[in-house]
């Protein structure tokens, strides 16, 4: 039984032709985006050149691109881990927010600790809170058979309003802005490329990419999760405890998203500000798919989405093209990666 499962896994791991399809989806999205720009009276070429130049043209651009990419690396890996176990955790945004808020509290109230203790502790608190939030959906699934797509989505809104309430009432800093006070200096993740906001969070993200690849390929837990994802009943008859696997996957997925929220607070904002996330959690789903559900692919796709955000701002300043073209491009990429068979039939037609 285990042998059969292993053979099935090996076959599913190969995705070199997948990369062609991801790149095709991105190119098609940019083509349609160019059409939108052209029809509305802008020059697509100069807009894209300005975007590319803004995102990668100088050290500052690269720094801002990586800053924007960092949180999305976490949320996409969070989605990826759950999807390997056949779960669709679309609530990374909620887990990200809960983790962010918890780490802000740890940053504020544990001030005075040496930084070598304070930073890891605050990161851990963020991960634990995100993991706990993810675990709620796992319990609802294993005990009550509630579909995780719906529960994680609903719990994201609960998290959004909950952290909104907490930063507006009990933990609100004096003043008009809905935010907490600053975290202690000992909890601040260092900025590694001033004057950009790029923080050591990117290093945590890189370590996460490597350890996720290791976890999925080389550990028993990773093997079990992938076996559950590919064929739950075969996994069960091979002696894998499905419920335990679902719990582990959601705990891990939520913890990764929560860790991302913690890095964003400790490294970039240094306090919890209501509405600080422009939807990093939702981006994670798209980025994981554009990256072909592969950790390194996630990293590359996150850099693409980060570049769209940072380059888009430069583009708007220099060419007056509305910034929202960036969101249109993201939406198009997502729609195109949703339908692999459509892209494949398009590619086949193109070759003829």
């Amino acid at each position: 039984m285990k042998g059969a499962a292993r053979r099935a896994l090996r076959g599913a791991g190969r995705s070199s032709e997948g990369a062609v399809f991801q790149v095709a989806a991105i190119l098609l999205a940019f083509t349609v985006g160019a059409l939108v720009l052209y029809v509305s009276g802008y020059n697509p070429a100069s807009a894209y050149v300005a975007m590319l130049g803004g995102a990668f043209g100088d050290v500052y651009g690269v720094g801002q691109t990586l800053t924007q990419a960092t949180p999305i690396v976490f949320t996409s890996i969070a989605f990826l881990v759950s999807s390997k176990a056949g779960l669709f955790n679309i609530g990374a945004e909620g887990q990200f927010l809960v983790g962010a808020f918890a780490s802000a509290l740890a940053g504020i109230y544990l001030a005075g600790l040496p930084w070598a203790l304070h930073i890891p502790l605050a990161l851990l608190v963020g991960a634990a809170a995100g993991g706990a939030w993810g675990l709620i959906a796992a319990v609802l699934k294993t005990r009550f058979d509630a579909h995780e797509v719906i529960t994680t989505m609903m719990l994201t809104y609960v998290a959004d309003y909950l952290t909104g309430y907490l930063s507006n009432y009990p933990f609100k800093a004096p003043g008009w802005v809905s935010q907490t006070v600053k975290i202690g200096a000992s909890a601040e993740l260092p900025r590694i490329l001033p004057p950009t906001q790029l923080s050591a969070g990117i290093l945590v993200a890189l370590a996460l990419v490597a350890s996720t690849a290791y976890l999925l390929r080389k550990t028993i837990l990773g093997f079990e999760l992938r076996a559950i994802g590919l064929n739950p009943s075969a996994a069960e008859s091979a002696g894998i405890n499905i419920n335990r696997g679902v719990m582990a996957a959601m705990l891990l997925s939520g913890a990764i998203a929560g860790l991302g929220g913690a890095c964003e607070i400790l490294g970039v904002h240094r306090r919890f500000i209501e509405g600080f996330s422009p939807g990093y959690g939702w981006d994670g789903l798209a980025v994981a798919l554009v990256g072909g559900l592969n950790p390194v692919g996630s990293l590359l796709a996150a850099i693409l989405f980060g570049a769209l955000r940072s380059g888009g701002m430069i583009m708007t300043r220099s060419t007056k093209v509305p910034l929202d073209i960036v969101i249109i491009l993201q939406g198009l990429v997502i729609v195109f990666v949703a339908a692999p068979t459509f892209m494949k039939s398009l590619l086949r037609r193109g070759r003829r």
Partner: protein, 308 residues
């Protein structure tokens, strides 16, 4: 000290019915989609795009009703896109819906900027006037609650009833339910599964579009960036809370509409944090899924259907 009756008055009940309207339309739409086995989480984006489309048509023609027609048509078109991706190409339903939401968010703000020079809001346009029902509006207590509303509000229970009749009293409804519950058996019985699926998803887009039109052409008279404010997702919650049944959806929509109205009222009075009230629909839905407030089981398993 604020008295309970200062908060729960006829004004808030009238507002609850108003705020329920877009939720109920979208949720009824979602019901058709889910009953043919396709989850449509793109309803939020469809509502938003239709809200903009309705305003554009009303802006250029001066006729808000033409705007409503356009909004419904745009919703149907976006439903068609979702159907092509998920039914024809067996793509992932959640990913497609998410894509539509993101696309709509970007596209509507982009168009608003191009047309009116502001990503924040459009200029105001001709909108649908409220009507007053002659005798009903004079009845004490009930009159002020249900006597004066937009025609689209009065249409809501009618549409709900039509949905009920179609779904449970016609052969088409039988086909719809069969396709969702057991596509293979439906195909064997000679039902064109793919056609019914397309129909269900397109109807979900059209009704979501109607909900969007209510927001921009009746509740307000302009398009504002992100004006749906998560109502497409609330509709999804109402659909589950209403257990995928037309009148259940209507009740759930009214309950969530009440939460929305209550939240606005409490915010203006400043006595309870609005976030707590805004959270309620989502918490209730999770509770329903956990079986705390009655069991909810979806009508299909949402797997893409492939002919053998």
């Amino acid at each position: 000290m604020v008295e309970l009756l200062d908060v729960i008055n006829v004004g808030i009940l009238a507002a609850a019915i108003r705020m329920a309207t877009p939720i109920v339309y979208a949720a009824l739409g979602g019901m058709f989609s889910e009953r043919v086995g396709v989850v449509n989480i793109g309803m939020e984006g469809i509502m938003l795009t239709s809200a903009l489309g309705g305003v554009i048509v009303s802006y250029y023609t001066g006729n808000p009703w033409l705007g409503v027609v356009a909004a419904v048509a745009i919703g149907g078109l976006m439903g068609l896109v979702h159907a092509v991706v998920t039914v024809r190409y067996a793509g992932n339903q959640i990913v497609s819906g998410t894509g539509l939401n993101v696309l709509a968010m970007g596209f509507t703000a982009y168009m608003s900027q191009i047309l009116w020079g502001s990503r924040g809001a459009s200029e105001s346009v001709a909108s649908i006037e409220d009507i007053t029902i002659p005798i009903l509006s004079d009845v004490p207590v009930i009159g002020p609650i249900v006597g004066t509303h937009s025609p689209l509000v009065y249409l809501m229970p009618v549409v709900t009833a039509i949905c009920y009749v179609v779904l449970f009293r016609t052969p088409l409804g039988l086909h719809i339910r069969a396709v969702g519950e057991h596509p293979t058996a439906a195909e064997t019985a000679g039902i064109d599964v793919v056609r019914i699926k397309y129909m269900g998803v397109i109807v979900s887009g059209m009704l979501s579009g109607l909900g969007g039109a209510f927001l921009s052409l009746s509740h307000l008279n302009l398009f504002a960036r992100g004006m749906t404010g998560g109502r497409g997702f609330i509709a999804l919650a109402a659909l589950i809370f209403g257990k995928w049944m037309p009148f259940g959806v209507l009740e759930a929509g009214l309950l969530f509409g009440f939460a929305d109205a209550l939240q606005m009222r409490l915010q203006s009075l400043g006595i309870l944090p609005p976030q707590i009230i805004l959270m309620i629909p989502y918490v209730l839905t999770v509770a329903v899924l956990a079986g705390v407030v009655g069991r909810a089981k979806p009508p299909s398993d949402y797997k893409p259907y492939q002919r053998e």
